[in-house]
Amino acid sequence: MNPRLLLLLFLGLAVALPLSLLAGRVWIDPLSPATQNAATILFHLRLPRAVLALGIGAGLGAAGAAMQGFLRNPLADPGLFGIAPGAALGAVLSFWTGYAAAPWLLPLFALAGACGAMTLLGLIAGRSGGIALFTLAGLMVSSLAGALVSLAISLSPTPFAMSEIVTWLMGSLADRSWRDVGISIPFIMLGIGVLAFAGRSLDALTLGETAARSLGVEPLKLQVLMVAGIGLTVGAGVAVAGIIGFVGLMVPHLVRPFTDHRPSSLIVPSALAGALLLIISDSLCRILPLTGGELRLGIGLSLLGAPFFLHLLLKMRRELV
Protein backbone atom coordinates (compact mmCIF):
# COMPACT_ATOMS: atom_id res chain seq x y z
CA MET A 1 0.00 0.00 0.00
CA ASN A 2 1.25 3.42 -0.90
CA PRO A 3 1.94 5.22 2.43
CA ARG A 4 2.00 8.67 0.81
CA LEU A 5 -1.46 8.08 -0.66
CA LEU A 6 -2.81 7.00 2.74
CA LEU A 7 -1.26 10.04 4.43
CA LEU A 8 -2.75 12.35 1.82
CA LEU A 9 -6.21 10.82 2.25
CA PHE A 10 -6.01 11.08 6.03
CA LEU A 11 -4.97 14.72 5.71
CA GLY A 12 -7.89 15.36 3.37
CA LEU A 13 -10.25 13.82 5.91
CA ALA A 14 -8.69 15.83 8.74
CA VAL A 15 -9.46 19.03 6.81
CA ALA A 16 -12.85 18.03 5.40
CA LEU A 17 -14.41 16.69 8.60
CA PRO A 18 -14.21 19.91 10.71
CA LEU A 19 -15.21 22.04 7.73
CA SER A 20 -18.26 19.89 7.08
CA LEU A 21 -19.29 20.24 10.73
CA LEU A 22 -19.26 24.02 10.42
CA ALA A 23 -21.00 24.27 7.05
CA GLY A 24 -24.74 24.20 6.48
CA ARG A 25 -27.83 26.36 6.54
CA VAL A 26 -26.59 27.67 9.86
CA TRP A 27 -22.88 28.44 9.58
CA ILE A 28 -21.01 27.96 12.80
CA ASP A 29 -18.09 30.26 13.40
CA PRO A 30 -15.68 28.49 15.77
CA LEU A 31 -14.13 31.81 16.78
CA SER A 32 -17.33 33.49 17.94
CA PRO A 33 -19.35 31.00 19.93
CA ALA A 34 -22.45 33.18 19.76
CA THR A 35 -24.41 30.98 17.33
CA GLN A 36 -27.63 29.87 18.91
CA ASN A 37 -27.92 26.18 19.66
CA ALA A 38 -24.46 25.60 18.21
CA ALA A 39 -23.77 22.66 20.50
CA THR A 40 -27.09 21.01 19.69
CA ILE A 41 -26.65 21.48 15.93
CA LEU A 42 -23.14 20.13 16.09
CA PHE A 43 -23.73 17.16 18.28
CA HIS A 44 -27.22 16.04 17.28
CA LEU A 45 -27.38 17.00 13.60
CA ARG A 46 -24.00 17.52 12.01
CA LEU A 47 -21.84 14.99 13.83
CA PRO A 48 -24.02 11.92 13.24
CA ARG A 49 -24.48 13.04 9.65
CA ALA A 50 -20.72 13.40 9.19
CA VAL A 51 -20.05 10.02 10.80
CA LEU A 52 -22.61 8.44 8.48
CA ALA A 53 -21.09 10.14 5.44
CA LEU A 54 -17.64 8.85 6.40
CA GLY A 55 -18.86 5.32 7.13
CA ILE A 56 -21.14 4.91 4.13
CA GLY A 57 -18.58 6.47 1.78
CA ALA A 58 -15.90 4.14 3.13
CA GLY A 59 -18.19 1.15 2.72
CA LEU A 60 -19.15 2.03 -0.85
CA GLY A 61 -15.54 2.77 -1.83
CA ALA A 62 -14.27 -0.52 -0.40
CA ALA A 63 -17.19 -2.47 -1.87
CA GLY A 64 -16.56 -0.96 -5.31
CA ALA A 65 -12.85 -1.78 -5.18
CA ALA A 66 -13.50 -5.35 -4.02
CA MET A 67 -16.24 -5.90 -6.56
CA GLN A 68 -14.07 -4.68 -9.42
CA GLY A 69 -11.31 -7.04 -8.25
CA PHE A 70 -13.67 -9.98 -7.81
CA LEU A 71 -15.37 -9.58 -11.18
CA ARG A 72 -12.14 -8.42 -12.89
CA ASN A 73 -14.30 -5.70 -14.35
CA PRO A 74 -13.30 -2.04 -14.05
CA LEU A 75 -16.91 -0.97 -14.58
CA ALA A 76 -18.33 -2.93 -11.64
CA ASP A 77 -20.23 -0.89 -9.09
CA PRO A 78 -22.58 -2.05 -6.33
CA GLY A 79 -25.23 0.40 -7.53
CA LEU A 80 -25.05 -0.40 -11.23
CA PHE A 81 -24.77 -4.15 -10.71
CA GLY A 82 -27.92 -4.42 -8.66
CA ILE A 83 -26.51 -4.81 -5.14
CA ALA A 84 -27.76 -1.45 -3.86
CA PRO A 85 -31.16 -1.87 -5.59
CA GLY A 86 -31.34 -5.32 -3.97
CA ALA A 87 -30.70 -3.75 -0.57
CA ALA A 88 -33.31 -1.10 -1.34
CA LEU A 89 -35.83 -3.81 -2.15
CA GLY A 90 -35.15 -5.46 1.19
CA ALA A 91 -35.50 -2.16 3.01
CA VAL A 92 -38.69 -1.23 1.14
CA LEU A 93 -40.21 -4.57 2.07
CA SER A 94 -39.50 -3.77 5.71
CA PHE A 95 -41.20 -0.36 5.33
CA TRP A 96 -44.10 -1.97 3.59
CA THR A 97 -44.63 -4.64 6.18
CA GLY A 98 -44.20 -2.08 8.94
CA TYR A 99 -41.12 -3.81 10.34
CA ALA A 100 -39.04 -0.65 9.88
CA ALA A 101 -40.43 0.49 13.21
CA ALA A 102 -38.14 -2.02 14.92
CA PRO A 103 -34.70 -0.40 14.55
CA TRP A 104 -32.67 -3.57 13.87
CA LEU A 105 -34.99 -5.06 11.28
CA LEU A 106 -34.50 -2.39 8.62
CA PRO A 107 -30.74 -2.99 8.22
CA LEU A 108 -31.26 -6.75 8.43
CA PHE A 109 -33.77 -6.63 5.57
CA ALA A 110 -31.42 -4.42 3.55
CA LEU A 111 -28.47 -6.75 4.26
CA ALA A 112 -30.52 -9.73 3.15
CA GLY A 113 -31.51 -7.88 -0.02
CA ALA A 114 -27.92 -6.95 -0.84
CA CYS A 115 -26.62 -10.48 -0.16
CA GLY A 116 -29.47 -11.92 -2.21
CA ALA A 117 -28.65 -9.69 -5.18
CA MET A 118 -24.95 -10.54 -4.95
CA THR A 119 -25.74 -14.28 -4.80
CA LEU A 120 -28.13 -13.99 -7.74
CA LEU A 121 -25.44 -12.18 -9.73
CA GLY A 122 -22.98 -14.99 -8.97
CA LEU A 123 -25.51 -17.67 -9.89
CA ILE A 124 -26.45 -16.11 -13.22
CA ALA A 125 -23.03 -15.13 -14.47
CA GLY A 126 -20.92 -17.73 -12.68
CA ARG A 127 -17.52 -16.78 -11.40
CA SER A 128 -15.81 -17.27 -14.73
CA GLY A 129 -18.28 -15.22 -16.74
CA GLY A 130 -16.78 -12.54 -18.95
CA ILE A 131 -17.17 -8.80 -18.43
CA ALA A 132 -20.10 -8.57 -20.84
CA LEU A 133 -22.01 -11.40 -19.17
CA PHE A 134 -21.52 -9.93 -15.70
CA THR A 135 -22.51 -6.47 -16.81
CA LEU A 136 -25.67 -7.74 -18.43
CA ALA A 137 -26.49 -9.94 -15.43
CA GLY A 138 -25.92 -6.91 -13.16
CA LEU A 139 -28.28 -4.80 -15.24
CA MET A 140 -30.83 -7.60 -15.09
CA VAL A 141 -30.58 -7.92 -11.29
CA SER A 142 -30.74 -4.15 -11.03
CA SER A 143 -33.85 -3.76 -13.15
CA LEU A 144 -35.53 -6.74 -11.47
CA ALA A 145 -34.95 -5.19 -8.03
CA GLY A 146 -36.10 -1.81 -9.37
CA ALA A 147 -39.30 -3.30 -10.76
CA LEU A 148 -40.05 -5.07 -7.49
CA VAL A 149 -39.42 -1.84 -5.56
CA SER A 150 -41.87 -0.04 -7.85
CA LEU A 151 -44.38 -2.83 -7.33
CA ALA A 152 -44.00 -2.55 -3.56
CA ILE A 153 -44.48 1.22 -3.78
CA SER A 154 -47.56 0.99 -5.97
CA LEU A 155 -49.11 -1.55 -3.62
CA SER A 156 -48.12 0.34 -0.50
CA PRO A 157 -50.84 0.38 2.15
CA THR A 158 -50.92 4.13 2.84
CA PRO A 159 -49.96 7.24 0.86
CA PHE A 160 -47.79 8.17 3.83
CA ALA A 161 -45.74 4.98 3.48
CA MET A 162 -45.49 5.61 -0.24
CA SER A 163 -44.05 9.11 0.12
CA GLU A 164 -41.74 7.92 2.88
CA ILE A 165 -40.32 5.19 0.63
CA VAL A 166 -39.95 7.46 -2.39
CA THR A 167 -38.06 10.17 -0.49
CA TRP A 168 -35.86 7.63 1.20
CA LEU A 169 -35.01 5.94 -2.11
CA MET A 170 -33.48 9.15 -3.46
CA GLY A 171 -30.56 8.76 -1.10
CA SER A 172 -29.80 11.38 1.51
CA LEU A 173 -28.11 11.90 4.83
CA ALA A 174 -30.37 14.73 5.99
CA ASP A 175 -31.91 14.48 9.46
CA ARG A 176 -30.13 11.27 10.42
CA SER A 177 -29.54 10.56 14.09
CA TRP A 178 -27.14 8.63 16.29
CA ARG A 179 -29.61 5.77 16.11
CA ASP A 180 -28.90 5.51 12.38
CA VAL A 181 -25.18 5.53 13.13
CA GLY A 182 -25.69 2.72 15.59
CA ILE A 183 -27.56 0.45 13.19
CA SER A 184 -25.24 0.93 10.21
CA ILE A 185 -21.64 1.76 11.11
CA PRO A 186 -20.84 -1.50 12.98
CA PHE A 187 -22.05 -3.56 9.98
CA ILE A 188 -20.12 -1.38 7.54
CA MET A 189 -16.90 -1.67 9.54
CA LEU A 190 -17.32 -5.43 9.76
CA GLY A 191 -17.92 -5.54 6.00
CA ILE A 192 -14.79 -3.51 5.21
CA GLY A 193 -12.84 -5.87 7.48
CA VAL A 194 -14.15 -8.89 5.55
CA LEU A 195 -13.28 -7.29 2.20
CA ALA A 196 -9.76 -6.35 3.36
CA PHE A 197 -9.29 -9.93 4.60
CA ALA A 198 -10.23 -11.25 1.14
CA GLY A 199 -7.74 -8.89 -0.54
CA ARG A 200 -4.99 -11.44 -1.15
CA SER A 201 -7.37 -13.88 -2.79
CA LEU A 202 -8.62 -11.06 -5.01
CA ASP A 203 -5.00 -10.44 -6.02
CA ALA A 204 -4.71 -14.06 -7.16
CA LEU A 205 -7.81 -13.59 -9.34
CA THR A 206 -5.76 -11.11 -11.39
CA LEU A 207 -4.36 -14.22 -13.10
CA GLY A 208 -7.80 -15.65 -13.82
CA GLU A 209 -9.88 -18.15 -11.93
CA THR A 210 -7.92 -21.31 -12.81
CA ALA A 211 -4.54 -19.86 -11.92
CA ALA A 212 -6.02 -18.42 -8.72
CA ARG A 213 -7.24 -21.87 -7.73
CA SER A 214 -3.80 -23.32 -8.43
CA LEU A 215 -2.42 -20.68 -6.05
CA GLY A 216 -4.63 -22.03 -3.28
CA VAL A 217 -7.67 -19.76 -3.56
CA GLU A 218 -10.90 -21.57 -2.75
CA PRO A 219 -13.55 -20.02 -5.04
CA LEU A 220 -16.54 -20.89 -2.89
CA LYS A 221 -14.94 -19.45 0.24
CA LEU A 222 -14.02 -16.28 -1.63
CA GLN A 223 -17.53 -15.94 -2.99
CA VAL A 224 -18.99 -16.26 0.51
CA LEU A 225 -16.57 -13.56 1.73
CA MET A 226 -17.58 -11.28 -1.14
CA VAL A 227 -21.31 -11.79 -0.62
CA ALA A 228 -20.90 -11.11 3.11
CA GLY A 229 -18.50 -8.16 2.75
CA ILE A 230 -20.34 -6.38 -0.05
CA GLY A 231 -23.73 -7.25 1.45
CA LEU A 232 -22.72 -5.78 4.83
CA THR A 233 -21.16 -2.56 3.54
CA VAL A 234 -23.76 -1.78 0.87
CA GLY A 235 -26.78 -3.17 2.72
CA ALA A 236 -26.10 -1.23 5.91
CA GLY A 237 -25.45 1.96 3.94
CA VAL A 238 -28.63 1.67 1.91
CA ALA A 239 -30.62 0.90 5.06
CA VAL A 240 -29.98 4.33 6.55
CA ALA A 241 -29.27 6.53 3.53
CA GLY A 242 -31.07 5.01 0.55
CA ILE A 243 -29.32 4.47 -2.77
CA ILE A 244 -26.17 6.51 -3.25
CA GLY A 245 -24.77 5.43 -6.59
CA PHE A 246 -21.50 5.70 -8.49
CA VAL A 247 -19.24 6.08 -5.41
CA GLY A 248 -18.09 2.47 -5.80
CA LEU A 249 -17.39 3.09 -9.48
CA MET A 250 -15.63 6.45 -9.31
CA VAL A 251 -13.49 6.06 -6.22
CA PRO A 252 -11.45 2.96 -7.20
CA HIS A 253 -10.79 4.55 -10.60
CA LEU A 254 -9.49 7.74 -9.07
CA VAL A 255 -7.34 5.84 -6.56
CA ARG A 256 -5.98 3.07 -8.83
CA PRO A 257 -3.31 5.11 -10.64
CA PHE A 258 -1.67 5.85 -7.28
CA THR A 259 -1.41 2.17 -6.30
CA ASP A 260 0.36 -0.85 -7.77
CA HIS A 261 -3.00 -1.90 -9.36
CA ARG A 262 -3.43 -4.98 -7.15
CA PRO A 263 -7.01 -5.26 -5.84
CA SER A 264 -5.73 -5.69 -2.27
CA SER A 265 -3.76 -2.45 -2.34
CA LEU A 266 -6.88 -0.63 -3.51
CA ILE A 267 -9.40 -1.57 -0.82
CA VAL A 268 -8.28 0.56 2.14
CA PRO A 269 -7.35 3.66 0.08
CA SER A 270 -10.71 3.36 -1.72
CA ALA A 271 -12.48 3.25 1.65
CA LEU A 272 -10.70 6.44 2.75
CA ALA A 273 -11.28 8.18 -0.58
CA GLY A 274 -14.95 7.12 -0.56
CA ALA A 275 -15.32 8.65 2.91
CA LEU A 276 -13.69 11.85 1.67
CA LEU A 277 -15.86 12.01 -1.46
CA LEU A 278 -19.06 11.52 0.48
CA ILE A 279 -18.32 13.99 3.25
CA ILE A 280 -17.37 16.67 0.70
CA SER A 281 -20.36 16.06 -1.55
CA ASP A 282 -22.76 15.88 1.40
CA SER A 283 -21.48 19.23 2.66
CA LEU A 284 -21.85 20.71 -0.83
CA CYS A 285 -25.41 19.38 -1.07
CA ARG A 286 -26.13 21.06 2.25
CA ILE A 287 -24.83 24.50 1.37
CA LEU A 288 -26.05 24.61 -2.23
CA PRO A 289 -28.57 27.47 -2.38
CA LEU A 290 -31.56 25.54 -3.68
CA THR A 291 -35.14 26.65 -3.16
CA GLY A 292 -37.40 24.04 -1.65
CA GLY A 293 -34.88 22.13 0.45
CA GLU A 294 -31.39 20.73 -0.14
CA LEU A 295 -30.11 18.72 -3.08
CA ARG A 296 -30.39 15.01 -2.30
CA LEU A 297 -26.98 13.35 -2.05
CA GLY A 298 -27.99 10.37 -4.19
CA ILE A 299 -29.18 12.65 -6.97
CA GLY A 300 -26.12 14.87 -6.75
CA LEU A 301 -23.72 11.93 -7.01
CA SER A 302 -25.63 10.40 -9.90
CA LEU A 303 -25.40 13.72 -11.75
CA LEU A 304 -21.65 13.55 -11.16
CA GLY A 305 -21.27 9.81 -11.68
CA ALA A 306 -23.13 9.28 -14.94
CA PRO A 307 -20.80 11.55 -16.97
CA PHE A 308 -17.86 9.87 -15.23
CA PHE A 309 -19.12 6.46 -16.33
CA LEU A 310 -19.55 7.77 -19.86
CA HIS A 311 -15.99 9.10 -19.79
CA LEU A 312 -14.72 5.65 -18.74
CA LEU A 313 -16.68 3.96 -21.51
CA LEU A 314 -15.30 6.35 -24.11
CA LYS A 315 -11.78 5.80 -22.78
CA MET A 316 -12.20 2.03 -22.95
CA ARG A 317 -13.54 2.33 -26.47
CA ARG A 318 -10.50 4.34 -27.52
CA GLU A 319 -8.20 1.70 -26.00
CA LEU A 320 -10.03 -1.08 -27.83
CA VAL A 321 -9.74 0.62 -31.23
Binding site: R72, D203, G208, A211
Partner: protein
Protein backbone atom coordinates in the same frame (compact mmCIF):
# COMPACT_ATOMS: atom_id res chain seq x y z
CA UNK B 1 8.24 -36.04 -4.28
CA UNK B 2 6.90 -37.88 -7.31
CA UNK B 3 3.70 -36.93 -9.12
CA UNK B 4 1.52 -39.40 -10.91
CA UNK B 5 -1.94 -40.59 -11.68
CA UNK B 6 -3.11 -44.14 -11.27
CA UNK B 7 -6.09 -45.42 -13.22
CA UNK B 8 -8.00 -42.16 -13.25
CA UNK B 9 -11.32 -41.85 -15.03
CA UNK B 10 -13.21 -38.62 -15.62
CA UNK B 11 -16.64 -39.02 -17.19
CA UNK B 12 -16.49 -38.32 -20.92
CA UNK B 13 -12.90 -37.10 -20.81
CA UNK B 14 -10.43 -39.63 -19.40
CA UNK B 15 -10.54 -43.40 -19.14
CA UNK B 16 -8.23 -45.32 -16.84
CA UNK B 17 -5.21 -43.18 -17.45
CA UNK B 18 -2.01 -43.88 -15.54
CA UNK B 19 1.16 -41.83 -15.68
CA UNK B 20 4.21 -41.65 -13.45
CA UNK B 21 6.36 -38.52 -13.63
CA UNK B 22 9.71 -38.01 -11.99
CA UNK B 23 11.51 -34.87 -10.95
CA UNK B 24 14.43 -33.86 -13.10
CA UNK B 25 12.51 -34.97 -16.17
CA UNK B 26 10.36 -33.25 -18.76
CA UNK B 27 7.14 -35.13 -19.43
CA UNK B 28 5.08 -34.20 -22.48
CA UNK B 29 1.38 -34.99 -22.87
CA UNK B 30 0.42 -35.14 -26.55
CA UNK B 31 -2.67 -36.03 -28.51
CA UNK B 32 -5.16 -34.74 -31.06
CA UNK B 33 -7.75 -32.09 -30.15
CA UNK B 34 -10.22 -33.32 -27.55
CA UNK B 35 -7.95 -36.16 -26.41
CA UNK B 36 -8.19 -35.11 -22.74
CA UNK B 37 -4.70 -33.60 -22.40
CA UNK B 38 -5.81 -30.49 -20.51
CA UNK B 39 -8.17 -32.53 -18.33
CA UNK B 40 -5.31 -34.82 -17.35
CA UNK B 41 -3.08 -31.85 -16.50
CA UNK B 42 -5.89 -30.25 -14.49
CA UNK B 43 -6.30 -33.49 -12.52
CA UNK B 44 -2.56 -33.57 -11.84
CA UNK B 45 -2.70 -29.95 -10.64
CA UNK B 46 -5.56 -30.82 -8.29
CA UNK B 47 -7.98 -28.53 -10.12
CA UNK B 48 -10.23 -31.35 -11.28
CA UNK B 49 -11.05 -34.35 -9.18
CA UNK B 50 -11.20 -37.64 -11.10
CA UNK B 51 -14.33 -39.76 -10.68
CA UNK B 52 -12.26 -42.82 -9.88
CA UNK B 53 -8.55 -43.47 -9.42
CA UNK B 54 -6.01 -41.35 -7.59
CA UNK B 55 -3.64 -38.51 -8.28
CA UNK B 56 -0.59 -39.21 -6.14
CA UNK B 57 1.86 -36.62 -4.84
CA UNK B 58 4.79 -38.33 -3.16
CA UNK B 59 2.68 -41.50 -2.93
CA UNK B 60 -0.10 -39.64 -1.08
CA UNK B 61 -3.53 -39.13 -2.69
CA UNK B 62 -3.77 -35.48 -3.73
CA UNK B 63 -7.27 -35.29 -2.23
CA UNK B 64 -5.65 -35.73 1.21
CA UNK B 65 -3.15 -32.92 0.68
CA UNK B 66 -4.23 -29.51 2.03
CA UNK B 67 -5.07 -26.75 -0.44
CA UNK B 68 -2.15 -24.67 0.80
CA UNK B 69 0.38 -27.49 0.49
CA UNK B 70 -0.86 -28.38 -2.97
CA UNK B 71 -0.39 -24.76 -4.04
CA UNK B 72 3.13 -24.75 -2.62
CA UNK B 73 4.14 -27.95 -4.37
CA UNK B 74 2.46 -27.74 -7.75
CA UNK B 75 2.77 -24.67 -9.96
CA UNK B 76 0.25 -24.54 -12.79
CA UNK B 77 0.23 -22.33 -15.87
CA UNK B 78 -3.16 -22.38 -17.62
CA UNK B 79 -3.67 -22.26 -21.35
CA UNK B 80 -3.91 -18.65 -22.59
CA UNK B 81 -3.24 -17.08 -19.19
CA UNK B 82 -4.97 -13.77 -18.53
CA UNK B 83 -3.82 -10.77 -16.54
CA UNK B 84 -6.81 -8.70 -15.46
CA UNK B 85 -5.09 -5.59 -14.09
CA UNK B 86 -2.19 -3.66 -15.50
CA UNK B 87 0.27 -4.51 -12.71
CA UNK B 88 4.03 -4.24 -13.05
CA UNK B 89 6.25 -7.23 -13.80
CA UNK B 90 7.48 -7.32 -10.22
CA UNK B 91 3.97 -7.28 -8.76
CA UNK B 92 2.83 -10.01 -11.15
CA UNK B 93 5.78 -12.22 -10.20
CA UNK B 94 5.05 -11.57 -6.50
CA UNK B 95 1.60 -13.13 -6.95
CA UNK B 96 3.47 -16.44 -7.12
CA UNK B 97 4.17 -16.03 -3.39
CA UNK B 98 0.48 -16.23 -2.44
CA UNK B 99 0.67 -19.90 -1.40
CA UNK B 100 3.31 -18.88 1.15
CA UNK B 101 1.27 -16.29 3.03
CA UNK B 102 3.03 -16.86 6.32
CA UNK B 103 6.60 -17.08 5.07
CA UNK B 104 8.99 -14.31 6.23
CA UNK B 105 9.11 -11.24 3.97
CA UNK B 106 12.84 -11.71 3.42
CA UNK B 107 12.29 -15.19 2.01
CA UNK B 108 9.56 -13.88 -0.32
CA UNK B 109 11.83 -11.05 -1.51
CA UNK B 110 14.58 -13.54 -2.36
CA UNK B 111 12.23 -15.91 -4.19
CA UNK B 112 10.86 -13.05 -6.30
CA UNK B 113 14.34 -11.71 -7.07
CA UNK B 114 15.56 -15.20 -8.00
CA UNK B 115 12.60 -15.80 -10.29
CA UNK B 116 13.10 -12.44 -11.99
CA UNK B 117 16.81 -13.16 -12.43
CA UNK B 118 16.19 -16.68 -13.74
CA UNK B 119 13.94 -15.30 -16.48
CA UNK B 120 16.24 -12.34 -17.30
CA UNK B 121 13.60 -9.79 -16.39
CA UNK B 122 15.76 -7.37 -14.40
CA UNK B 123 15.37 -4.58 -16.96
CA UNK B 124 11.61 -5.02 -17.17
CA UNK B 125 11.01 -5.23 -13.42
CA UNK B 126 8.93 -2.04 -13.18
CA UNK B 127 7.29 -2.17 -16.59
CA UNK B 128 3.48 -2.54 -16.69
CA UNK B 129 2.34 -5.86 -18.16
CA UNK B 130 0.37 -4.10 -20.90
CA UNK B 131 3.64 -2.83 -22.35
CA UNK B 132 5.32 -6.22 -22.77
CA UNK B 133 5.72 -8.18 -25.97
CA UNK B 134 4.29 -11.68 -26.24
CA UNK B 135 7.64 -13.31 -25.56
CA UNK B 136 8.35 -11.08 -22.54
CA UNK B 137 4.90 -11.77 -21.16
CA UNK B 138 5.47 -15.53 -21.40
CA UNK B 139 8.72 -15.14 -19.45
CA UNK B 140 6.96 -13.05 -16.78
CA UNK B 141 4.23 -15.66 -16.36
CA UNK B 142 6.89 -18.35 -16.04
CA UNK B 143 8.68 -16.22 -13.43
CA UNK B 144 5.39 -16.03 -11.52
CA UNK B 145 5.35 -19.83 -11.57
CA UNK B 146 8.96 -20.02 -10.34
CA UNK B 147 8.40 -17.49 -7.53
CA UNK B 148 6.28 -20.12 -5.78
CA UNK B 149 9.36 -22.39 -5.82
CA UNK B 150 7.20 -25.44 -6.47
CA UNK B 151 8.52 -28.95 -6.86
CA UNK B 152 6.44 -29.34 -10.02
CA UNK B 153 5.84 -27.08 -13.01
CA UNK B 154 2.71 -27.92 -14.98
CA UNK B 155 1.95 -25.91 -18.12
CA UNK B 156 -0.88 -26.25 -20.60
CA UNK B 157 0.37 -25.49 -24.12
CA UNK B 158 2.81 -22.83 -22.94
CA UNK B 159 4.08 -22.16 -26.47
CA UNK B 160 0.68 -21.73 -28.11
CA UNK B 161 0.95 -18.00 -28.70
CA UNK B 162 4.72 -17.76 -29.16
CA UNK B 163 6.74 -17.59 -32.33
CA UNK B 164 9.38 -20.23 -33.11
CA UNK B 165 12.33 -18.53 -31.43
CA UNK B 166 10.45 -17.57 -28.26
CA UNK B 167 8.96 -21.05 -27.99
CA UNK B 168 12.44 -22.58 -28.27
CA UNK B 169 13.84 -20.18 -25.68
CA UNK B 170 11.03 -20.92 -23.22
CA UNK B 171 11.47 -24.67 -23.78
CA UNK B 172 15.14 -24.28 -22.92
CA UNK B 173 14.10 -22.61 -19.64
CA UNK B 174 11.76 -25.49 -18.79
CA UNK B 175 14.66 -27.88 -19.43
CA UNK B 176 16.90 -25.84 -17.11
CA UNK B 177 14.27 -26.12 -14.40
CA UNK B 178 14.12 -29.89 -14.85
CA UNK B 179 17.90 -30.03 -14.63
CA UNK B 180 17.71 -28.06 -11.38
CA UNK B 181 15.59 -30.88 -9.93
CA UNK B 182 12.02 -29.81 -10.59
CA UNK B 183 9.49 -31.99 -12.33
CA UNK B 184 8.11 -30.53 -15.56
CA UNK B 185 4.87 -31.67 -17.21
CA UNK B 186 3.80 -29.95 -20.43
CA UNK B 187 0.81 -30.35 -22.68
CA UNK B 188 2.28 -29.97 -26.17
CA UNK B 189 0.71 -29.72 -29.58
CA UNK B 190 3.98 -29.52 -31.44
CA UNK B 191 5.25 -33.08 -31.73
CA UNK B 192 8.73 -32.02 -32.83
CA UNK B 193 9.18 -30.08 -29.58
CA UNK B 194 8.05 -33.11 -27.62
CA UNK B 195 10.33 -35.41 -29.65
CA UNK B 196 13.41 -33.22 -29.23
CA UNK B 197 13.03 -31.95 -25.69
CA UNK B 198 10.93 -34.33 -23.59
CA UNK B 199 12.33 -37.24 -21.63
CA UNK B 200 9.01 -39.01 -21.52
CA UNK B 201 5.88 -38.71 -23.67
CA UNK B 202 2.30 -39.80 -23.05
CA UNK B 203 0.03 -39.96 -26.09
CA UNK B 204 -3.72 -39.73 -25.47
CA UNK B 205 -6.62 -40.27 -27.83
CA UNK B 206 -10.26 -39.92 -26.81
CA UNK B 207 -9.29 -40.05 -23.16
CA UNK B 208 -7.25 -43.26 -23.41
CA UNK B 209 -3.50 -43.82 -23.31
CA UNK B 210 -2.30 -44.79 -26.79
CA UNK B 211 1.42 -44.82 -26.18
CA UNK B 212 3.85 -44.01 -23.41
CA UNK B 213 7.59 -43.95 -22.95
CA UNK B 214 10.68 -42.29 -24.39
CA UNK B 215 9.77 -39.99 -27.30
CA UNK B 216 11.41 -42.22 -29.92
CA UNK B 217 8.96 -44.96 -28.99
CA UNK B 218 5.82 -43.04 -27.92
CA UNK B 219 5.98 -40.76 -30.95
CA UNK B 220 7.12 -43.31 -33.53
CA UNK B 221 5.80 -42.76 -37.06
CA UNK B 222 3.29 -45.56 -36.80
CA UNK B 223 1.86 -44.20 -33.53
CA UNK B 224 1.39 -40.79 -35.13
CA UNK B 225 -0.25 -42.41 -38.13
CA UNK B 226 -2.64 -44.33 -35.90
CA UNK B 227 -3.50 -41.58 -33.42
CA UNK B 228 -3.50 -38.47 -35.63
CA UNK B 229 -4.59 -40.38 -38.70
CA UNK B 230 -1.82 -38.82 -40.72
CA UNK B 231 1.14 -40.66 -42.26
CA UNK B 232 4.36 -39.25 -40.80
CA UNK B 233 8.09 -39.85 -40.84
CA UNK B 234 10.84 -38.44 -38.62
CA UNK B 235 13.84 -36.86 -40.33
CA UNK B 236 17.20 -35.77 -38.93
CA UNK B 237 19.30 -36.80 -35.96
CA UNK B 238 17.99 -37.40 -32.42
CA UNK B 239 17.55 -34.06 -30.69
CA UNK B 240 17.14 -32.30 -34.03
CA UNK B 241 14.25 -34.25 -35.37
CA UNK B 242 11.80 -32.80 -37.88
CA UNK B 243 8.48 -34.34 -38.80
CA UNK B 244 7.61 -34.99 -42.38
CA UNK B 245 3.90 -35.48 -42.82
CA UNK B 246 2.51 -37.62 -45.59
CA UNK B 247 1.04 -34.77 -47.60
CA UNK B 248 1.45 -34.19 -51.34
CA UNK B 249 4.45 -31.95 -50.73
CA UNK B 250 6.65 -32.64 -47.68
CA UNK B 251 5.65 -30.35 -44.84
CA UNK B 252 8.24 -29.80 -42.16
CA UNK B 253 7.46 -29.00 -38.55
CA UNK B 254 10.71 -28.17 -36.90
CA UNK B 255 11.77 -26.84 -33.57
CA UNK B 256 15.27 -28.16 -33.29
CA UNK B 257 17.80 -27.78 -30.56
CA UNK B 258 20.06 -26.10 -33.10
CA UNK B 259 17.88 -22.99 -33.14
CA UNK B 260 17.83 -22.63 -29.36
Amino acid sequence: MSLGVSNITLAGRLQEVSLQCRRGMVTAICGPNGAGKSSLLSCMAGLLRPDTGDVLLGGRPLSNVSVAQKAQWIGYLPQAPEVAWDVSVEVLVSLGRLPWRNAPAKEARKAIDDAIAAMDLEDLRHRPVSRLSGGERARVLMARLLATQPGWLLADEPFASLDLAHAAALMRRFRQQAKAGRGVVLVLHDLATAMNHADQVLVLRKGRVEAEGPPEIALAGKVIHRVWNCPARWLGEPGERALSLGLATPFLVDVSRGSV
